[in-house]
């Protein structure tokens, strides 16, 4: 009986001390960043490399450099299962540790956090996802979606298809089908594609696939009937694998099937095996582990037994994407330190760093990422930056880049984006700020 009581007391003490132990790092001289991850659940195959990329890069900065200019990064993972409600709960729970920024890694969670950001003074970085309209920094000072948005991606896709056909003027009369996840994320590219269809005269068919996308028979029957020249897929999770497999089994030419950058990972081509050869996807960075940053990660993190992934998983598409995402977070903090000093910063100070980020070719080389992504410049007005797209192709074993850097059709995207920003900002009762006064 006494043993039971003693154990109960010890257990109660452990439970009570748990949160205190977790809070401790934020109270010392570190910058805290919450990581909303999904290592379990139906979307885990995508969530795991993303979480590993973030963890490894933060560890690299802490282990190799002793932090950002001497200030260590403290992070804590919180499991969201890619569920919006759980993601918001995670954010609220970790808010007590005074985070300066958050990467929601879900469009649904991003939409929920956007209204909270100005009050909480936490920067939201939704890299290549989230609300496209938030790229207008005049209306959304706390949200950044560099290096590219869905709309820029859609325009880069059309431009690439135009190049393959011998010029965008040759798109007239061609058929393009967009197979998309029936969610705000999946629908995001539709207005841009519709506008470009009107501009270039191609016939666009929009085919929605409901969550989770395990059964797409009817969609692919429609594809058979339409017989499009090109297919663009905006999927996630199992929808991607089934779509690639359906395209292959129906005998569609795989080099004319192009996924968006969330529909082109190693996991997406596993079930189709050899049938996936030739499948393409959009991206904004290079795949593979052939960059100096990977050698550094293996040396400073994995050789010390602190790696989050299997060694051979370092360099996977989503791993690289999150490593780049984390690098951009770190460089924004470093930028902020040029103004506010090498010390733990506030959310407002880090926001300034994001808005004044200027990642040059030289800096990318210093970081061991030359060629892995393009130099990037963010401004007060433009939170999307000046990112360019690439097309990668699956050769049966690995993804390889098969295009030059593609400039989005900005003259179409930017005006639409600014108009959408006004609409979205109205819903949140935001007022437009004057960037000229802040320079």
């Amino acid at each position: 009986m006494r043993v039971k009581v003693l154990l109960s007391v010890l257990l109660a003490l452990a439970v009570a001390a748990g949160p205190l132990a977790a809070v401790a790092p934020a109270q010392d001289k570190s910058i805290f960043i919450p990581l909303l991850v999904y290592r379990t659940g139906p979307y885990a195959p995508s969530g795991i490399p993303i979480a590993n990329g973030a963890s490894d890069y933060f560890n690299l900065v802490n282990e190799r450099d002793g932090g950002v200019n001497g200030v260590k990064i403290a992070y804590e993972e919180c499991e969201t299962q890619y569920d919006t409600k759980q993601g918001v709960e995670c954010y609220e729970r970790l808010k007590s540790r005074s985070p300066v920024l958050v990467n929601p890694y879900s469009t649904g969670i991003t939409y929920q956090l956007i209204p909270k950001a100005p009050g909480d003074k936490v920067v939201i970085h939704s890299m290549g996802y989230g609300m496209t309209a938030s790229a207008d920094g005049r209306w959304f000072p706390w949200v950044f979606n560099f290096p590219m948005t869905y709309w820029s991606q859609a325009s880069a896709f059309v431009k690439y298809v135009g190049q393959q056909e011998g010029g965008v003027e040759k798109l007239k009369g061609k058929k393009i089908a967009h197979i998309y996840h029936n969610s705000p994320y999946g629908r995001e590219a539709n207005p841009t594609l519709e506008e470009l269809a009107r501009k270039y005269g191609f016939e666009l068919t929009l085919l929605a696939v409901d969550h989770p996308g395990q059964e797409q028979g009817a969609t692919w029957l429609q594809v058979r009937r339409i017989n499009p020249n090109w297919i663009f897929i905006s999927g996630w999770g199992v929808m991607n694998q089934v779509a690639v497999k359906e395209a292959a089994s129906k005998g569609f030419p795989m080099d004319h099937v192009i996924g968006n950058w969330w529909t082109g990972t190693e996991a997406d081509v596993v079930p189709a095996a050899d049938g996936a050869k030739g499948y393409k996807s959009m991206t904004f960075h290079a795949p593979g582990a052939n960059f100096k940053v990977h050698q550094d990660i293996l040396k400073h993190v994995y050789d010390k037994g602190k790696g989050a992934a299997r060694r051979e998983a370092v360099g996977e598409v989503l791993y690289n994407r999150m490593a780049i995402n984390t690098m951009l977070n770190v460089e924004a903090i470093r930028t902020a330190m040029t103004k506010y000093g090498n010390k733990p910063l506030t959310g407002e100070q880090v926001r300034w760093g994001f808005e004044n980020l200027n990642l040059t070719e030289k800096r990318l080389e210093e970081l061991g990422m030359k060629g892995m992504m393009r130099p990037l410049r963010v401004t007060c007005e433009n939170h999307e930056g000046n990112g360019l797209a690439l097309v990668q192709q699956w050769d049966g074993k690995k993804w390889t880049i098969v295009s030059d850097w593609i400039e989005p059709i900005r003259e179409v995207v930017r005006p639409k984006l600014e108009a959408a920003a006004v609409e979205e900002a109205k819903k949140l009762s935001y007022t437009m700020r004057d960037c000229a006064k802040e320079k």
């Binding site: 139906p42 929605a208 395990q214 028979g217 009817a218 079930p271």
Partner: protein, 310 residues
């Protein structure tokens, strides 16, 4: 007027391209039989114990994970299949001993809630055991298509259809032509009466959960070969619910008929009338149809009409 035109135009399309309509029908039949494979597992357990097994979807996943996990470790296909059957039988024993036996004579809702707990356990246990990455399941079924009189037919879907047909035949013989099958039906009708004439309830439960585990293996192989083995495989259980409502919770042929109606209905609906409402009706169409059936025939097409004295 436009709506009327939109409603009528698909009939013109069907008449204009009958070969494509046949292709849609074949796609619907194939998808329907795949749903039936999952629904069969629900029917077996409900038939024998009156319990709606919420864990059937995750049993499909667990079976497929075990099979592909063993194959990834170099175990030959046939041996891996045998070992998976063994694992599912052991699982049935464990469920009877740990979950069901302590709950004998409890309300059905309690047993239903226990199966919800089982779902979470199997999902987490499977993930811990085999990892959560997407796995390719190659059991030698070719996923290629070929043309027959202008109609595209997929080999994998054809194999799945044949497998489902064989499975139904085997289950029909099992239920109606064997002593165990008759005992299962007796338990389903009345637990206490079955016990009073010497039918061992525990053994029957182990057998029925083992058979449901076997059906889960077949469903897991077919769905796993189609989409890869991954955790969203357990979500296909959601697709089998309208199938059960349509076919009846206690009928094996009903699960097949329900699957066919849902499969063919959703394909025709999505392909021809889906564009009228912006598409993506495939998922909710099945539930809509099931709701209509509930209004007029709550016990489903082949289900037993339960009349209780109150």
């Amino acid at each position: 007027m436009d709506v009327l035109y939109g409603l009528v135009t698909p009939f013109r399309d069907i008449a204009g391209s009958p070969a494509f309509f046949v292709e849609v029908l074949i796609g619907g039949v194939a998808a329907g039989l795949m749903y039936s494979l999952v629904a069969l597992g629900f029917v077996l357990i409900f038939k024998a114990s009156g319990v709606f097994n919420f864990a059937q979807g995750v049993m499909v996943l667990f079976a497929a994970l075990t099979l592909v996990g063993l194959m990834e470790r170099g175990v030959p296909v046939v041996l891996a299949l045998g070992l998976t059957v063994l694992v599912m039988i052991l699982l049935a024993f464990a469920i009877e001993r740990v979950v069901l036996r302590p709950l004998v004579n409890q309300e059905h809702i309690i047993l239903f809630m226990a199966t919800i707990g089982l779902t979470f356990f199997l999902e987490g246990f499977g993930e811990m055991l085999w990892g959560s990455n997407v796995k390719r399941l190659d059991v030698g079924i070719p996923d290629e298509s070929f043309m027959v009189a202008g109609v595209l037919v997929n080999r994998l879907e054809l194999t799945a259809a044949l497998t489902a047909a064989i499975l139904v035949a085997v289950l029909a013989v099992f239920f109606h032509g064997t002593r165990i099958g008759r005992a299962l039906r007796a338990v389903a009708d009345d637990h206490e009466a079955a016990l009073s004439i010497g039918i061992p309830l525990k053994t029957i439960w182990v057998i029925v959960w083992s058979v449901a585990g076997g059906v889960a293996i077949v469903a897991g192989i077919m769905w796993g070969a189609k989409s890869g083995v991954q955790f969203s495989l357990s979500l296909i259980a959601l697709k089998s619910l309208p199938v059960l409502i349509l076919g009846g919770f206690t009928s094996v042929p009903g699960a097949i008929a329900g699957g066919l109606i849902i499969g063919v209905g959703e394909k025709i609906g999505e392909v021809y009338w889906g564009p009228l409402v912006g598409g993506a009706i495939e998922n909710w169409f099945a539930y809509g149809l099931a709701l209509v059936f509930l209004l007029f025939r709550p016990q489903g097409l082949f289900g037993e009409k339960i009349i209780e004295r109150v």
